[in-house]
Amino acid sequence: MRRITLGEDAVSEPDLLLDATEIRKSFLGLKALDGVDFSVRKGEIHALLGENGAGKSTLIKVLTGVHKPDSGAIELDGQAVAVRDPMHAQQLGIGTVYQEVNLLPNLTVAENLYIGRQPRRFGLVDTRTMQKQARALLARYDIEIDVGAQLSSFSIAVQQLVAIARAVDMSGSVLILDEPTASLDSHEVELLFGVMRKLRDRGLGIVFITHFLDQVYAVSDRITVLRNGKLVGTRQTSDLMKVDLVSMMLGRTLAAATEHGRRAAPPPSERKISFSDFGRARSVAPFDLTISAGEVVGVAGLLGSGRTETARLLFGIDLPDRGTITVDGKPVRIASPRDAIRLGFGLCPEDRKADGIVGDLSVRENIALALQARRGWLRRMSTREQTELADRFVKALDIRTTDIEKPVKLLSGGNQQKVILARWLATQPRFLILDEPTRGIDVGAHAEIIELINKLCDEGLGLLVISSEIEEIVAYSTRVRVLRDRVHAGELAGAEISTDNIMRAIAAEHGAAR
């Protein structure tokens, strides 16, 4: 076994909180973790990094008792422990936010925060006190919501914040956050970092998984990198250059070509899709939107500003109560996603677990699904055809999976995202809506996807990209739509597009209204 120890002292340290050694875990022959050492000290933020499918989430699940390790030892505060299950982990003082928001949509926010430890009076749950505590807890994250409402009535971002608040509140000594920032915008991210720093100063050990390298440098003290289930190394953040980090993660250096500039607006084209006076009461105020072939329209806005709802409206999931659509000048009607798909539309949804993946079906079937649906049930794609398609996209998008017959729910989060992207690319759409497309995707893949987007646009694809990453929007948009409080409040084009301008547009007359 090749073990790389890069300048780290392997002998036990006095302030070690959690120490896992030689962790091995395989799934049906796939070595997801192959002799990984990982430790967390008191009062540190420890970033756990690696490509999609590197084994980060698996490591977390082993540490918190979701999976039993095949071998290896875990010590907590110097004591060997065998974590039985997540409940046990919680009792040991480990609070965790798992990668996909794992809360209970049918319970209220307060119940989600306090399930299993509800305050009681005379043996009965004291709902009033619980809700009071919940409100106080969420206030620390600037969230003011009805904690008695069902969790499912809130956007995924709010749910993520609730999950974080819950984990933080539960963590006695260790806090683990698996891609907590994936659907948060910069304001929420800053808030979260504030909380993390405070906890660190109180002596907690925090494990932080993310694909945003800037965030890594903003908060973390140490970095551990995994690749293909193996430990690449652990370093002090201050000692590690970004390029070195990237090459540690990818095992190669990232091609400079991806550091492209802003896309130029394509030449005016007849091929375009226009929505005019489009809107739906209590959802999105009426707006006009035109997307030409080869154009990338970025959509920016705060949480709950109506971006996802705009996407649902354009794709025929929610029906507009006013407005018209024309495709290449011809008026059309969209009453369902099917209609939209027939016109060459595609939508990568924001909530990939609920609206994206069909978990029990294989990678191959998931990739072929939309194309098959468009062809109709009579004209079945042969297994060979599906396999070819899937193989092509697995290669093009570098989807990490043992084979394409694996149920997609067993893939790592980032790879699931790529499968859904592949599903839409397979239909060769002319207009693609991506709602938070790079959520949970690693740096390497991120660059590849942006490259791919650019290439497709050159071939005439029109694109609408919703993202909370303003840098990302700046990187590829030809125009930027800014939403505010469910109103399409403005548009930036050409040279106007810059991080600052977008921030300003978002923030305009946006006081404490949230």
Binding site: S26, L28, G29, L30, K31, N228, F315, I317, S336, P337, R338, A340, I341, L347, P349, A354, D355, G356, I357, V358, G359, D360, L361, E365, A368, L369, A370, Q372, A373, R374, R375, G376, W377, L378, R379, R380, M381, T402, D403, R423
Partner: protein
């Protein structure tokens, strides 16, 4: 196709259960496996198992599709009664066989359509939506027969229950043909994939452009058709329509067959042939009970014991299989990595 080998491996727990039950049947009645040819027709307990299992197998075929789409159809027993009632009364009134068959099947299709619309359009929960017809349907069947067992003597219709073809009883032939045809339609077109997809995640399927409403209506309609077919066979078998008792509680048997066949009640992956196998397992058990000579008070206990046995065998073989699979899977995984 390499499908056969992997199919057999997947069916191993069920086949093991079947073997165990047949073995006990043989213990109870040593002549269980005897077969003889008489008037060009096979006779024997094994044939009986297939013959008696045919209606449940036919129900299970339709039920499989419904369950795969994350639904359930409680009305199949009542639809059987209705279809049988229509067939019998029309025969007695002198309609010709094709008209009788078509009307009877049409009744099943209409019932299925109704269920489908309630589930897909009104978005009622499948169990309640079909509960309505389960209750009312039997009433309608009785209304048709006016509470009487309508007996008929028309040989054409009777042939579907007691005739034989290629040496096998007609119900067996019909069930086998339906199963093969359904497998063909479902797997040679994309229907199978689409059904599994909406069963696993309806929202995601809608996003992917699947017309889940239409598909659900189609599935329930097909299930209604199957139920009507089973109803015709059941009526033809006893040369009469017994609106009160035809198909009574058979919905439970059909669901049980599907579940024993390995299709999850939560929807998703399904296998028609495995459900048919499930129906055969259930009937082997029933036939075994009949010939065992136990007093009937023990019937239900034996039934419960067999179901528990099936569960244990499935659970054990599942974990056993994981162990067996490991080395092989590891090899392929390594290849994929390289």
């Amino acid at each position: 196709m390499s499908g056969l080998g992997s199919g057999l491996r997947k069916a191993a727990p069920q086949l093991a259960c079947l073997a165990v039950i047949l073995f006990f049947n043989w213990l109870a009645f040593p002549g269980f496996f005897d077969l003889r040819l008489q008037d060009g027709r096979l006779f024997g307990s094994l044939v009986d198992v297939l013959n008696r299992g045919a209606p449940v197998a036919i129900l299970a075929i339709g039920m499989t599709a419904v369950i795969a789409s994350k639904g359930v159809d409680l009305s199949v027993g009542a639809v059987m009664a209705m279809a049988g009632a229509v067939a019998a009364t029309m025969t007695v009134e002198g309609y010709s066989l094709p008209v009788v068959l078509l009307s009877s099947l049409a009744v099943g299709i209409a019932c299925g359509l109704l269920n489908g619309l309630l589930v897909a359009v009104l978005e009622l929960q499948p169990i309640v939506a079909t509960l309505i017809l389960m209750v009312a349907g039997r009433g309608i069947a009785q209304l048709i027969t006016e509470g009487v067992i309508v007996t008929f003597v028309e040989p054409g219709l009777i042939f579907f229950g007691t005739g034989s073809f290629l040496g096998l009883p007609m119900p067996v032939i019909i069930a086998a043909a339906l199963a093969l045809l359904t497998v063909l339609v479902v797997r040679r077109t994309a229907l199978g994939l689409l059904i599994e997809s909406i069963g696993v995640n309806r929202s995601a399927s809608t996003y992917a452009g699947i017309n889940s409403r239409l598909l659900i209506v189609m599935i329930y309609t097909f299930c209604g058709f199957c139920a009507a077919l089973a109803g015709i066979i059941a009526a033809a078998d006893i040369r009469g329509a017994d609106a009160n008792n035809a198909g009574l509680w058979l919905e439970l048997d059909a669901i049980l067959a599907v579940v024993i066949g390995g299709t999850s009640l939560l929807g998703g992956r399904f296998s028609i042939l495995m459900s048919v196998l499930g129906a055969i397992i259930i009937q082997s058990m029933n036939t075994g009970i009949l010939i065992s000579g136990f007093p009937p008070e023990y019937n239900l206990i034996v039934k419960a014991a067999v179901i528990i046995l099936i569960l244990l065998v499935q659970a054990a073989s599942l974990s056993g299989f994981k162990l067996l699979l490991r080395p092989g899977a590891a090899a392929t995984a390594r290849k994929a990595e390289a």
